[in-house]
């Protein structure tokens, strides 16, 4: 009686038929049953040595080895542009041929809300601009008047001072002349 492959059975590499043969054989063959026990004990001893934890985790790679080349990226982006264009064209076509929603006749004659709002905004802006312009003109003219008044007052003051200075000069000249005449006599 030939002995079956016990090791293949041990490592679960035997087919269903071989498995059955091993089991039937070991049921009647004491030496093969003992041999199988030894093999199983050996494997159990080996497996008692557990895997170890790594001292440190690996530094993960980040080099762009597999990054697409420039022409691949261009091709990818070109495809994206084409897809976007196709989608946009389809949307325009669908929008053009799609029947619009039902609009009552009165609603057609009524100006759209956006136009009303826009006109109101324009009017309000124009009014505000006009107000600001008027106020600016008033302020400018007031400043001009004030400046002219100050200028006139300054000139009057200068004239008065000049007249006073002239009088003082005349007095001094006269005094000096009289002293000179007296000394001469």
């Amino acid at each position: 009686m030939s002995c079956p492959d016990l090791k293949a059975y041990l490592f679960e590499e035997a087919g269903p038929r071989e498995q059955q043969e091993v089991e039937q054989h070991c049921a009647v063959c004491t030496s093969c049953a003992e041999e199988f026990s030894k093999l199983e004990g050996t494997r159990a001893a080996l497996l008692s040595v557990r895997d170890e934890e790594m001292p440190r985790r690996l530094a993960f790679v980040s080099d762009p080895v597999f990054e697409p080349r420039w022409y691949e990226r261009l091709w990818q982006s070109g495809k994206l542009v084409m897809a976007s264009s196709a989608l946009l064209s389809a949307a325009i076509l669908v929008h053009a041929f799609r029947p619009g929603p039902y609009v009552p006749p009165m609603a057609v004659q009524t100006p759209p809300v956006e136009a009303v709002v826009e006109a109101a905004v324009r009017k309000a802006v124009a009014e505000a601009d006009a107000r600001h312009e008027k106020k600016t003109r008033e302020l400018l003219s007031e400043q001009k008047r004030e400046f002219e008044n100050q200028h006139v007052q300054t000139m009057a003051s200068v004239d008065a001072n000049f007249e006073l200075l002239s009088k003082k000069m005349n007095v001094l000249v006269l005094q000096t002349a009289s002293r000179t005449t007296g000394d001469g006599q």
């Binding site: 049921a27 093999l39 050996t42 690996l58 990054e67 697409p68």
Partner: protein
């Protein structure tokens, strides 16, 4: 397991398109297993750590060469195998000395620490190829066919290495006397 394979394939496809996060996920998923494979094979933490880093770097750079994204794991372990044996050939020409480590005496029952020491010593007595075969089969759970892909050799060679190694390990690790267990359906027969 099927879902896991699908996810790996999906991540590989995304990583190939430049998605670094997808590759990072593959790293976090496989780094511990690759590290432990290398650690058991080389018996040196620093070497195992350095090579694990190298393995994932090479995997990232060579991801475009992976024919079937669904076979990421065997392909990754193929890289790890190449790295490990390259190191073993470069720095450990005196590999024969390792086989002279005396195994601890086998007793009827060993404490967990003793068992771990016994396993380590028993694995060191194997040739690098036998040891690697045991690691891939017992610890990493690869099928013979997947191992043949990783090791680039026939399935028959893989089976021969595993079987021979197991016979050698059995001499020191198998429990004597008492039965360790039985067939999966042994209790019924």
């Amino acid at each position: 397991m099927i879902f896991r394979e699908v996810e790996d394939r999906d991540l590989v496809v995304k990583a190939r398109k430049g998605n670094v996060d997808a590759f990072n996920l593959l790293v976090s998923r496989w780094e511990r297993r690759v590290f432990n494979y290398l650690l058991k094979l080389l018996s040196d933490r620093e070497d195992a750590m350095d090579l694990t880093q190298d393995v994932f770097l090479k995997a990232y750079q060579g991801l475009g060469k992976l024919d079937d994204p669904g076979r990421f794991a065997p392909w990754l372990f193929r890289i790890a195998h190449n790295e490990a044996f390259s190191l073993l050939r470069r720095f450990r020409p005196d590999q024969e000395e390792i086989h002279d480590v005396a195994p601890p005496p086998a007793g009827p029952r060993l404490l967990p620490v003793e068992t771990a020491l016994a396993v380590t010593a028993a694995l060191e007595r194997l040739s690098p190829e036998q040891k690697e075969a045991v690691i891939l089969k017992v610890y990493q759970g690869f099928k013979f066919e997947e191992m043949a892909g990783i090791l680039e050799c026939p399935v028959s060679t893989v089976k021969s290495r595993v079987y021979t190694a197991l016979d050698l390990l059995k001499q020191t690790l198998a429990p004597t006397g008492a039965q360790a267990g039985g067939l999966r359906h042994g209790g019924e027969t």
